[in-house]
Symmetry: D2
């Protein structure tokens, strides 16, 4: 073997080693913790071959590790199992098959299911269950009750997926709500945004969720601002299954959907406060000041001026720094800026208001 061939073999060997190392690598996703809370990246809606998904349950844990998720719930349908002829029904089995791998990877993995009766009243996920079997009942309300008896967190999925008429609010939903059996709604599911669900979450104090509802293998290699699952950020006091549950019950979430964050004002404000850094003015012209604004998160921030100073619009791309030039007659004085973060939604069509002083 000539020298160059030996070198080439070495290269191949090293590359192979590099590749296998990569397989265990989990690329960081950049969202800041909030004061007093750790920020977890979560997906509470996905399927395996045990219902209508087409991957083995453990694949969901592999994906979660690779994509930087902190918590997932595997929510195979109780009622809909098109592979039943080959994979006999066993409601607790997907959890049991995957939980060991989740523990090993340090991924929070509450036992869960999707209750899929007719629409209306729609599909509901129940997570933090101890046993899925008792939910396989005749009656829909009884299934929800059973979930609650186990202390589950229950949310309504993709509310308008069959249209607003079939996704309307019915007496049965009022019953669930009044009994304290309904705790949240998917504001976003996969590629779909549900403004009515969003509005109801605001009005009724329900927890906002965004999930992938993924059925096929996830072929993305990492989570980025440009390409990511619809996910829920959960702000926990402690990184445990119980900590996750407490945060969901308390409504401490934000939904990451395409290029948008959706949630209550306090959590969206918290993200911006921790992730956006405005440098001191580095240049004072005769009639302007220049500053640099860093966005440390993996989501863009789109700002439209609502006050009187600053550019009409500012875009802060993810993980980058943007130069901002602000016209002012008093370049040695602080300048107050007031903007709407149009892609940080606190209600349908309503962006978060933000004010800062540049000095």
């Amino acid at each position: 073997m000539t020298r160059s061939r030996a070198a080439c073999m070495t290269l191949v060997l090293l590359l192979v080693m590099a590749c296998s190392a990569t397989a265990q690598t989990r690329h960081d996703v950049a969202f800041p913790d909030l004061p007093g809370y750790e920020t977890l990246l979560c997906d509470f809606h996905m399927h395996s071959v045990f219902s209508d998904g087409n991957v083995w349950p453990t694949v969901r844990v592999d994906e979660a590790w690779r994509l930087g998720l902190d918590a997932i719930a595997l929510t195979d349908h109780i009622e809909y199992q098109p592979h039943r002829a080959d994979v006999p029904t066993n409601h607790n089995r997907p959890f049991e098959l995957a939980v060991g791998k989740a523990l090993e990877a340090g991924i929070l993995f509450p036992r869960a299911t999707e209750i899929t009766r007719d629409t209306p009243p729609g599909h509901f996920n129940a997570i933090f269950l101890s046993d899925v079997e008792p939910l396989d009942t005749e009656d829909f309300v009884e299934a929800i009750e059973q979930a609650n008896k186990q202390g589950a967190f229950v949310f309504w999925n993709h509310q308008s997926w069959k249209g607003e008429e079939k996704g309307r609010w019915m007496d049965v939903h009022t019953t669930l709500l009044e009994n304290g059996w309904l705790h949240g709604m998917e504001v976003c599911n996969g590629g779909g945004y549900h403004p009515t669900a969003h509005r109801w979450c605001v009005e009724k104090g329900l927890t906002m969720l965004g999930n992938s509802d993924i059925h096929a293998p996830d072929i993305s290699g990492r989570t980025t601002a440009d390409e990511h699952r619809t996910l829920t950020l959960v702000f926990v006091k402690e990184r445990t299954v119980d900590g996750l549950k407490e945060a969901l019950q308390a409504g401490r979430t934000a939904v990451w959907f395409n290029n948008q964050m959706i949630g209550r004002a306090e959590w969206l404000e918290g993200l911006l406060a921790e992730a956006i850094e405005i440098a001191p003015v580095h240049r004072r012209g005769k009639d302007y000041v220049s500053t640099k604004v860093a966005n440390r998160m993996d989501v863009e921030v789109q700002l439209e001026r609502t006050g009187s100073a600053g550019p009409a619009s500012i875009t802060l791309p993810p993980r980058s720094t943007t130069m901002v030039r602000i016209g002012t007659k008093s370049p040695n004085e602080p300048v107050d800026l007031t903007y709407e973060a149009t892609n940080f939604l606190v209600a349908p069509g309503e962006g978060l208001s933000v004010s800062v002083t540049v000095e």
Copy 2:
């Protein structure tokens, strides 16, 4: 809703449409047809949840479409089925579940299996079966015989995967060969190259194969020179399952492994003849000529000079054009170049010899 928000919604909508269109797209993989033969990109070794893989059988067809493959064989183990408790044994089932999707996608999909007894004598794939069940026998040789009774193409997988000792040639292999029951060997399997298998293919006239043996979901979005499965190029007279079988039996294959092509000289020569295009000399200096050499394939060509003219080494990256300057005292005369294509292997450690005249 303000104007800019409406525009933004439009953008999102268009992007979503763009994404779903992409899902059906199959990016071209560039290999030339050979005179009289169409070149098919093939993978004859992969698994599903029906043995120790972790995807539903149809996922393999989705992957084949996305990755530009023309033919695949799903080869779940007859003997090794770690998911048996949840997915009861049914040897023909993976094929039956996926064949409709394969037909719809125009992907050749022969019925197949992997015969997994001890090593030695090793694992063998049988493809072009009509029924897998009869191969579930007590005796190894009988299983191979059953496959051959159905007219299968049978090849020995990853010969040295447990070391050369366990991958040694035994009497039973001689028996198979003498009966005409063994037709090929995997020279490459996944990330592994088996030089002994390569040598035996050359010596015994066995068909050379390269396959992925993939068990997990394939998360690559497309097939490229830098990132591709180990695959077999098959040169067929017609794009049908029968055409595929005829070509395999006739040994018309080349193995695409990392940055290498492995095969019989005539097929490797054919690929180079069709894919490499040398432009007429565009510049004649006092003591050199310059020409451009295009490589239309998705595999690099690495050339080392064995003759007296031309640069000591030339690298022709995939799908690109390279400028080559050739020193010569007679720049108006044709120049003969003789090189070894060091990454086009005709035997272990032996590259293909190539000669061209530049004029």
Copy 3:
């Protein structure tokens, strides 16, 4: 030094070698030749430090090689030279500095300039000059006349860049046209499309051009469908400077602008005829046929149905194959499809009509 460090050094060395090799590589851009014509990828408008660009002239040749261009013209302004204090005026100098490198790279490189008087009447490029100096005249028309005396091909740049009013057709343009001194117009310049120029080209038989007008260094590593300069495809009888001139004079061009091709119907039809390949039907259902349609070019083809059969719209991404399912009551009969290629513009807002029969 330990073994692993030596291996690592080897890796680094090989990577460094790989990188320097890449520098000479020119990635293919995929456009088909037309029957009787070779297709050249061209950019006839760009600047260097000798006017208001900020690169040395040779950089434009390096870029052309890297980006797969076949011909470029360096068109520094005669009148506008903001770097004059540091780089004294010398109209022929940019050409002289770069032509040797262009010859070496086999890139066609006609001598050229931009005549930049007021707007109106606008800016004009003159290419295929023998000497730029005589164009440095007092009078605008005289400069154009001088260019024509040298046999130049003259075209009007970015017609509406200062608005349609300043880009209006004036008597002087009629004079140029009637004297045979104006041969083409930029339909697209950089990121801008000029529909009025497009219409005038159609009406007056002027050659359509698309150019980059690049001033800064081009930081793109290769030319792709997603990221490419605005360019002109020229269909030449021979790959020489004269061949290029003859083709431009004959109007054999198409403009590649973002995701669009703009040109005369015969050339756009030619591109589609050579680049789009419809496979024989591979599946006949009860009420449909399925076929695969390959697009071998680096530009997407967007089709909207104007006839009665086929999907309402079909998108054929670049260098990829798309599955098309066509509903029909007679799946064993040929099906006629009539579509508009909405991104292949033969006039402003008017896509090319295409008809094919699938069988």
Copy 4:
């Protein structure tokens, strides 16, 4: 115009806006500040058309912004000016042309030059000059003296670029050193590492530098672990030109070269201490503990075990988290790990020693 065309125009418009926004974006490069020091990313060696580079001086500032650099020095040769016929000599001019843009971008931009006499004694950069002209002297030592009179920081470039013999230490170097006129050396320049320079920096207390020495346009769109210029990290007390100078004089630097960091132990330790985060053990098996180790920097950390516990080697890719499983007979006790960071060099061939306790 039809609706879909209007929508398409909207899309194009938005994309164009997005692109222009991107042009002002500066992607973050991830290196931590050290306690008491801010970390600046710097390149103190580059050229423009005023010597043998081929870009206008302002291009270097545009590149610095885009690539996330905090400070650059433009060091055109005093002696070597191949473009002199077209760009007459003016030593201070490159600085003057670019400084305004640097101030606007907030990039530190000391006036600088390269003193290029014979090799030996080699090339030297002088930065923090007030006037380059006085350095254009007959005598080499006088040029260095002039630089020092202006308070410059002077370093020896690419010591062994013409071989170790021509890069040998001579009496003149001793003179410079004894006079306090030589303050640092390039340990790395472009793609080259100079181990002798490295050793001399360690022995003589010279400041270690790594610079690009770039002449062509930089076509990389961002700085990443995989693709970055050779750069110097400088640990400053304040982000000003004076702060930069103080830090360089004090030797607070680290060199980022390919996949390596080179510097004094205290600064390399500081980087690791701030960038590597070891999570509390999340899983205790019978004979192992599992933990996650995050690397927040844009450089990989390669660890080889020198102690008795932990995996033989650990690779921590940039901006990612790696799972580490540590075998131990006492999984409830803290485990001490001792490793060598083989790609964090404190001397030629000698990696940094690191010790941590996992609990």
